[in-house]
Amino acid sequence: MRRLEPAAIGGVMSREVANFRTIWRTTTFSSLLEPVIYLVAFGLGLGATIVNRVDGLEYVEFVGTGMVATAVIFSSALPAMFGTFVKERFQRTYDAILAAPVDVEELVTAEMLWIGLRAGVYGTFPLIVSMLFGLDPAPGMLLVPLFCFITALGFAAFGIAVAGSVAKIDQFNYVTTLVITPLFLVAGTFFPISGLPQGLQVAAQVNPLHHLVELVRHASFGFEIEDLIRVGVLVGFAVCLWRLAVRRMTARLID
């Protein structure tokens, strides 16, 4: 049998779809409501009282576009970490799947693709909500789901690799505190990175989330040639983390 068989990947994804059908209402509700809360709190609160314009944008436009990245990381890295760990350790789902003609590489790829698709859709919600708060639609925004999908693949793989590496579920606290929160704060979501110290500005350049934020802003207000490099960075991030996730999960699942 070949590697990366579409039938195997599709089979694993069909399991995710079957489970998602039981939870989509709550997931969608929170994904829609969260950006509304953030926009009211930051965009209207902070924007109306302290900050008026950032990098030439209304603060609501700045935050609304930046929050796409927040939605992507929180709907990819966290579900991948917790979901993978629970399915592997507590539900023993992967034991059942790997007893079928599915290998670890196909399993990890399917999980990444499913999370990527979900995040690709949910990542656009802040943008849609922002339009209700005054963000003007632009043709480039049609590419935002693709940017979200590619970024989410990388963060899903990151989450799976972490789940395949930790011994206990509470060790995820280290990862969220030391990795995810800094990544999301130094991405240019709520404030421009140009105001940060030089070291953090350099660090932001290797932060995939920052590249997503820039791509979404440029999709809304005009692309730049450097955006091709940004897409390349996100694709490279996804590929590297994919291989890492496969390696970590193979070590975890195959004795």
Binding site: N19, T93, A100, P101, V102
Partner: protein
Amino acid sequence: MAVPAIELSGVVKCFGAIRAVDGLDLDVPEGICLGLLGPNGAGKSTTMRLLTGQAIADEGSIRVLGHELPGESKEARALMGVVPQLDNLDVDVSVQDNLAVFARLYRVRDVGEAVDRGLALARLTGRRTDAVDKLSGGMRRRLLLARGLVHRPQLMLLDEPTVGLDPQIRTELWSLIDALRAEGKTILMSTHYIEEAERLADEVALMAEGRVIARGRPSELIAEHAGRETAEVYGPPERLAEVRTRAQADGLAVRPAGPAVAIVGAERSSNGAVPPDAVRRPASLEDVFVLLTGAEAE
């Protein structure tokens, strides 16, 4: 001579310093139900994981349905069905979707037909749209079995299929496994329940410390290792100790049997080593199990 469905030769699997499987030689001919019987820690579950490619042998060779493992593990898995020891159904998902997902994983062409067949087998047609967490324990075990059969496999691996179940559910499962035997399906079933092995297996391979220590039909194993008759003697500990000493001096095997001692091969007693008040009964697979493994039977 037909090629066995499963062939393990000199298989070793270590976890650190522990040799979970230690030079295992085992073949399972097509069309039989082989019971892999052994106490906890004998290496049964590791053997099952080796057969599904979820563990890689350190030494030895494994062939399943003509496919060499681990290189052709995926091909082998496509032809076998697995019923796990632990319930790993998707509890929030409907009964029919649990079956449909696995039909897809096994590349079944007509998923609808496979689901209907699985539902009928598990006697859950009327509960097809119910979430799994609405089912009773027995229903869930039947669904697990049906899930393992959703692609009409040539070979079934049953890993402790009734562990932890109450007697009524266990009997239900046994009748389903009986039906598979009647169809001529090849079954490898690990268990540590003597009664289950006696009831279901055409042949039993007794495992201890990672290898097969005895193999044969239950009646052959009993005749070879336990003779015809076992005598159970009850009484206070001092008396049991005395009986044990006399029987052993007479060359008979003695094992504990709850509040009694059991003298195995009692028909060979020649000089009064078996007291007149002993309760005589036909020798059993349990006698063989305890004598050979040193473990208490369940």
